[in-house]
Chain length 101, copies 2
Amino acid sequence: MEKPKYHVFVCGSARLVGENKGFCLQKGAIDIIQNFNEEIQDRGLDSEVMVSSTGCVGLCSMGPVVMIYPQQIWYGKVTSDDVEEIVDALENGETIERLVI
Amino acid sequence: MEKPKYHVFVCGSARLVGENKGFCLQKGAIDIIQNFNEEIQDRGLDSEVMVSSTGCVGLCSMGPVVMIYPQQIWYGKVTSDDVEEIVDALENGETIERLVI
């Protein structure tokens, strides 16, 4: 199966069973995911970029955390306002140094 | 920050808010994640392998789905019995062809 060029994982603090109550979720993970989905749709990048939420990745003090694979770029303290810039960077093959953890 | 050599993502069918009711979860995602964590601990691979659950990745007919990054290996119809073999393959830099999707 063809893999996405960029697989964006957004920590959603999900617990495996039950409620999601973690830090990244409280700090806007849902807005971040929604903004990614909108940017990707607006730019017609559906076939290149996939967005998934994840369970807690244990980096709560640096959350909300966004991990981009296979490029292995990890961003911390991401806000929904950063998403447009992150997608710009993906399209340009760049990394946003101020967000890197 | 140092990244894990292998980041194993197991689809846990998580919904962003509320209950987890999806296919991968029903088909044993929790056991798969627990087995990964046990194998990793037993082999002392904690610093090399990280395991995260994800929200639904939309491949329900091929679930439970396990994705390994940055290697971009995607496995489908994984059972908890496959986990030991998957970790063996990681350690040997190999891919288990019968599980690849």
